[in-house]
Symmetry: C2
Subunit: 208 residues, 2 copies
């Protein structure tokens, strides 16, 4: 079932899940309009998106909050934990390692790696930075399924290849470069400089 | 001219600009194929995207690297500096304030604000955190054009309203919520939990 859900729908599922947490506590059902309002889409889109999950809504009632939360968590694969490795302990990798927010979503940072021997052994988020050459060993031993790449641009492609060769299936890439990966490997890119430049494009275009 | 460029093209312009920096130094011209290879799109798309900027390519020659860089920088509004305020000095706001990468792209972080009096006066990125009630005064006095929201979800909408009322036209939102803003205000959202949940969706769907 999951394989046939459109990518745009997948990208909204986390927003719906979060919207349920925004409902007043004690509210046991919600309408597609409730979710649409909080998620910032229209209610027809909500109904269509959720119909991919087996149409958990009930006509005249809407959605049972607890049921829908469970359906969304199942679809998003959030009923199990995921081990994450952060590769690169520069400004951004250190920030991510110190972030602390990952655990709340069910992700466990099991290692922070860096190629610089000076950084190995320094503490990031309560964890000692480990040497890059241990990447393959750590991915295998700690059952890492998600790799976060926070290296300089030049190193990112090689790290992506080492991560996927070691068994990592999903990559969150903060390096400002497009990664080439094998089919079946999922890459999401978070690129602050691109986001900021899109903002300045609009500032410029509007004459601000 | 800029107003009519499709959003998808705008989102690729920063990638092309970066691609020029990836070319071997000393290379004075490049083809659309060169850019396509580095940017991870096809060459017809490159030519189409760049034609929106006044078609700076020359048949049989390609693009002059220096000229194209200048055209892209102009289009993206990168020929001037931008003052940025970071609102929220929690884990993420502190990480962003310490990041140091913004300056390299022409953005200057001129203030970090927090509502918590305990945080006011603490140092983030070499700058003392300032009180949230000074937001309007700081935006005006330091000519802030970009606001980065790194507050808890509950506070984000009110901060967006205060920023835009004070004159900020562009917002980069790290809070996990959809902001409602007036027409003409540009919001880009960076949402780590959504990106991670999209990855786990695919891990789950592929049976990993």
């Amino acid at each position: 079932m999951n394989r046939s859900i459109p990518a745009a729908t997948v990208s909204r599922l986390p927003i719906y899940l979060r919207s349920l947490n925004d409902l007043p506590s004690g509210q046991s059902t919600c309408s597609s309009e409730d979710l649409a309002e909080i998620a910032g889409v229209n209610s027809a889109q909500v109904r269509k998106d959720l119909s991919y999950l087996g149409s958990p809504g009930v006509r005249g009632v809407g959605y049972h909050v607890a049921d829908l939360r469970e359906v969304l968590r199942q679809a998003l694969g959030l009923t199990q934990g995921y081990a994450v490795v952060i590769v690169g302990a520069g400004h951004l990798g250190t920030a991510l390692g110190n972030y602390g927010g990952f655990e709340a979503w069910g992700f466990s940072v099991v290692a922070v790696l860096d190629a610089d021997v000076e950084k190995v052994g320094t503490m990031v988020g309560g964890r000692a930075v480990e040497a890059m050459e241990r990447l393959e060993e750590i991915v295998a031993a700690r059952e890492v399924s998600i790799g976060i790449i926070a290296t300089p641009m030049e190193a990112a492609q090689e790290i992506a290849e080492r991560l996927t060769a070691a068994g990592v299936r999903s990559i969150l890439n903060f390096a400002p470069t497009v990664l080439r990966v094998a089919p079946g490997i999922e890459v999401r890119r978070v690129d602050l400089s691109t986001e900021l430049q899109i903002l300045t494009f609009h500032l410029q275009a509007s004459g601000a």
